[in-house]
């Protein structure tokens, strides 16, 4: 005799009685074995109980897939208890990924057409929860029939099932569209709510439906009005607000039809806002106003409602208010500005999600008139805010400062403050921006360098700050030592102190490699700025020649070489930087050095990348051009490019009328010739080969040729064949220039040559005259 199976409640008790996870698992495994056996034996009487137990176990996280077929059997049974549990099981265990789910379609069809109301309800509920597209298509006619049933209980469910069906199978919209208008005339709230949801869904899917339903808007308004103005029935209301669910539904459907909510003002005045229900309805009106093209007056009303929400003691209401105001701030900026003080107060919230919203909104509210006040508040917030908000706050402040800074000095002060407070959280380009800003504000050089020096002296741990300070001290060290700046109290700074500080940065373990690079370069620059002798600097530099960090080592070697072999060039190389272009690559000493001392390699420093467009400034381009002529860095051409050009070159013999060569430069036996080729199949293309020859007695070394053309032309330089021309007619250097001239603009060419000859470095810049007309016509 098989032991009678456990009742559900007994099983639950037993499971809860288990002291450990292992014990629980044991109990469950034992019970599942019984359940499986029972399913196999096919006991119809207790099947529902077994499935219920299985569902409980499933909720705890254990596998229950073997119950799927049992759900089918239970659904097909005629007992209500069986059906109830069977449908619940179907909703929990079956989903559209399993093929088994289609098997219940037939049962559902039977139940929908022949079942009593509760059974129909179960079927509809299951269909709307887990119905897949195929099921929906199959059962649409049944559901449609049920829409017309007299009983409201079934009808409301049928309507919402239709909503689900439309979501799954949008084509069914046409089936469910006709009954809607009629359904709106019902009095039953459940039906109305369902109908409104259905209409909303239909309108979302098709603009045709939208047009169709515009007619019913007066109806909806009427419903809302009735709800708001007349007395309410106790069964539908929540704390004095009649059927807030229906009101909310009404508003959201009006959003869909994009009509002006005439009743919004009525709702706003009549609704009791002391409880959440009232606020919910009010909030929905605000959302409606926001989403449709409302008149300005209504939008102001919406903003004011939100402003009132901000003062509400309920945290949730404040949160939705902040979120919605953020959406409105772009379109109704002035209206939202009126609530600025309240928003700023919200920064002090203890709840992180609220303060984050408040921060976003505050940043959006900053404009040129309130920037100083807002910045003060925001900076105060930055000091006390939780760490995950710091990065956002810092970058927000910097951005706002950039857009609205009243004076440069204020801007520099602000950035400085941000760097000292939250230095580790700023974005990488903050350093570059600040250096660029300082570089551009000539009158503030002395001021900036002093402030930075003071800040650095206090604290060398904030990397961005240290980097900027090091760069400034390097550039403007002479101003630092002058000692007289009216804006800060006079500070006597000793040369030795400055050097000591930079050395400290170099040696500190807190400094990143990039920071060290900055410090080392700054030291180098000071060697020309300071009056004292450079032994200390030379010492430091030579120590770092054997540094383990490759970057630092390389720099140190270069600088050391600068001291030893190229001392005459040192001053020129370490001159003050010209102003860098905004949004261009960042200012960089390497650019200068790689151009001047050709023997040094051109590796990039870590935080900044050298770009040859830096050379733009230095090349002083053609007057006609606006300085934007392109040329790729001649120092790192693409090796593959040569191949491409070779393929481009015509295999055919040169064009019938060859353009004569041109000698463009001659000095002490060093000559540069240009030869022109215009391939016939590409009339816009001009290929120039520059040949450098040397008939003198001395070698030409480190020969570099650069070119510039007017803006309307495009220039590409190939890699030169080498950079040495041996003396007495040694192998010449050739370099290919590729010029695209689609507009046939007059060709102008400016060349810059640098090389070493007779132990002297030579630099020549000149424009090529007498360019043959055939080269560009």
């Amino acid at each position: 005799m098989v032991a009678p199976s456990l009742k559900l409640q007994d099983l639950i008790e037993e499971i809860r009685g288990a002291k450990t996870q292992a014990q629980e698992r044991e109990v469950i495994q034992k019970e599942c074995a019984h359940i499986r056996a029972s399913f196999r034996d096919g006991d119809p009487v207790h099947r529902h109980r077994q499935l219920a137990k299985l569902l409980y176990v499933h909720m705890l996280g254990y596998p229950a897939h073997f119950g799927q077929m049992e759900c089918l059997k239970l659904i097909a049974s005629s007992r209500f208890t069986d059906k109830r549990v069977g449908y619940l099981g179907a909703m929990l265990l079956l989903d559209e990924r399993h093929d088994a789910h289609l098997l219940i379609t037939n049962s559902i069809k039977n139940d929908l057409s022949q079942g009593i109301q509760p059974v129909q309800g179960l079927a509809l509920c299951t269909l709307s929860t887990m119905g897949s597209a195929e099921m929906c298509r199959d059962l649409a006619p049944e559901v449609e029939k049920l829409l017309l049933q007299p009983s409201p209980y079934v009808r409301k469910k049928a309507i919402l099932t239709a909503v689900h069906m439309i979501r799954k199978v949008p084509e069914l919209s046409s089936v469910f569209l006709p009954p809607c208008v009629h359904l709106l005339h019902e009095r039953h709230h459940g039906i109305l709510l369902g109908t409104i949801t259905l209409i909303t869904e239909l309108c979302e899917r098709s603009p045709a439906a939208l047009r169709h339903f515009r007619k019913v808007v007066p109806q909806l308004v009427q419903i809302l009005r009735t709800l708001v103005t007349t007395g309410y029935s106790t069964e539908h209301s929540i704390s004095g607000v009649s059927d807030p669910f229906l009101q909310v539904g009404g508003h959201s459907s009006k959003t869909m039809t994009n009509t002006s909510p005439l009743s919004s003002t009525q709702v706003a005045t009549n609704t009791d806002t002391s409880r959440n229900a009232g606020n919910a309805v009010l909030f929905e009106t605000v959302l409606t106003i926001m989403d449709i093209r409302s008149a300005a007056g209504l939008r102001v009303l919406a903003v004011n409602i939100l402003g009132r929400f901000l003062l509400n003691s309920d945290r949730n209401i404040r949160y939705v208010a902040l979120t919605s105001l953020l959406r409105l701030v772009q379109s109704d900026h002035s209206a939202v500005q009126r609530h600025r003080p309240t928003v700023v107060d919200c920064l002090q919230e203890t709840d992180a999600s609220l303060s984050r919203r408040a921060l976003e909104l505050s940043l959006a509210l900053v404009n040129s008139s309130n920037v100083r006040a807002m910045m003060q508040e925001l900076q105060a917030f930055l000091e006390s805010c939780p760490p995950d908000l710091r990065a956002d706050c810092a970058s927000g402040i910097l951005l706002a400062a950039e857009r609205f800074a009243p004076t440069k000095r204020w801007h520099i002060d602000t950035i400085l403050h941000v760097l000292t407070t939250a230095g580790t959280h700023v974005r990488d380009d903050a350093v570059a921006n600040l250096t660029q800003l300082i570089g551009g504000a000539q009158e503030l050089h002395a001021y900036s360098v002093r402030r930075l020096y003071n800040a650095l002296a206090e604290d060398i741990s904030q990397q961005p700050l240290v980097q900027v300070a090091a760069w400034c001290i390097g550039e403007y060290g002479d101003l630092l030592l002058e000692g007289n700046c009216e804006e800060i109290e006079p500070l006597q700074v000793d040369e030795e102190e400055v050097l000591a500080l930079l050395e400290k940065v170099l040696q500190s373990h807190m400094s990143l490699p990039a920071t060290r690079g900055y410090a080392l370069t700054a030291l180098m620059k000071l060697s020309t700025r300071l009056q004292g002798d450079n032994n200390r600097i030379r010492q430091v530099v030579s120590i770092y020649r054997s540094c383990l960090d490759v970057e630092l080592q390389q720099r140190a070697v270069e600088y050391d070489t600068l001291f030893r072999k190229y001392d005459h060039m040192r001053a020129a190389i370490l001159e003050k930087m010209p102003l860098v272009e905004r949004d261009g690559p960042q200012a960089d000493e390497e650019a200068k050095e790689s151009k001047a001392a050709a023997q040094l390699s051109e590796a990039a420093p870590a935080p900044t990348e050298p770009q040859a467009s830096q050379l733009l400034d230095l090349l002083d381009l053609l007057d006609g051009a606006s300085g934007d002529a392109q040329h790729p860095p001649p120092l790192d051409p693409s090796p593959g490019g040569a191949l491409v050009y070779l393929l481009d070159l015509p295999c055919a013999p040169p064009p019938p009328a060859p353009i004569p060569d041109l000698k463009v430069f001659e000095r002490e036996g060093v000559q540069l010739n240009l030869s022109f080729i215009r391939p016939p199949e590409n009339p816009a293309l001009l290929l120039i080969t520059a040949t450098a020859t040397n008939s003198s007695e001395g070698d030409v070394t480190d020969f570099i040729c650069q070119a510039a053309v007017p803006k309307s032309l495009q220039l590409q330089l190939q890699a030169p064949s080498g950079n040495t021309v041996p003396a007495r007619g040694g192998l010449p250097i050739t370099q290919l220039f590729r010029i695209l001239n689609p507009n046939k603009a007059p060709l102008r060419l400016k060349l810059r040559l640098t090389y070493n000859h007779f132990h002297q470095s030579v630099q020549e810049i000149f424009e090529v005259n007498n360019l043959p007309v055939e080269s560009w016509q």
Partner: protein, 187 residues
């Protein structure tokens, strides 16, 4: 609404209702992560949070967390009302509901939810109607027990009191002789 979860302070799941199709694995993953996130919130924090691309509305009632995931365009404040209404329904049904009621009668909790929400939307705004529907269904369950023990499993297609059901019928479409004058009564 995309889904609703009920879980205890220790993170044990008490009810899960999914209105979007997801695999079992995904459901488990979402549940685990969401439970962790919500339990990590401090008591004074607001009831809304953003998680993945959904808005989560949660509220704690005694030892149970009620957690709903809604879409971007849904109204958070009304969702709080929905949660509250559901708790009220449970309270009315069980009489001062506590977590144990929901544990031991989890299937009833599901049935009540299914009478209040359908497909993620509110289907009935009247508390009275929801509770009445549950009552009738419970009654029907008892009746079906009664009849199964009597050897019949058919009952008439009306809602009525037990006194009507002293007849047995052959198929669903026949109305009860006693209640054919009151078809589809109640509402």
């Amino acid at each position: 609404m995309q889904f609703m979860l009920l879980f205890s302070r220790q993170g044990k799941l008490r009810l899960q209702k999914w209105y979007v199709p997801l695999s079992d694995k995904e459901k488990k993953k979402i549940t685990r992560e969401l439970v962790q996130t919500v339990l990590a919130r401090k008591p004074k924090m607001c009831s809304f949070l953003e998680w993945r691309d959904l808005k989560i509305v949660y509220k704690r009632y005694a030892s149970l967390y009620f957690c709903c995931a809604i879409e971007d365009q849904d109204n958070e404040l009304i969702t709080l009302e929905i949660i509250h209404r559901y708790v009220e329904l449970l309270d009315k049904y069980f009489g001062s509901v506590c977590e144990l009621d929901i544990i031991f009668n989890f299937e009833k909790a599901y049935f009540i939810l299914d009478e209040f929400l359908l497909g993620g939307e509110v289907q009935e705004t009247s508390k009275k109607n929801v509770l009445k529907a549950i009552e009738q269904a419970d009654l029907l369950q008892e009746v079906s027990y009664l009849f199964s023990s009597l050897g019949t499993s058919m009952f008439c297609s009306c809602w009525g009191s037990l006194s009507h059901h002293s007849y047995s019928f052959r198929n669903y479409s026949e109305a009860c002789l006693a209640c054919s004058v009151h078809p589809f009564a109640v509402y």
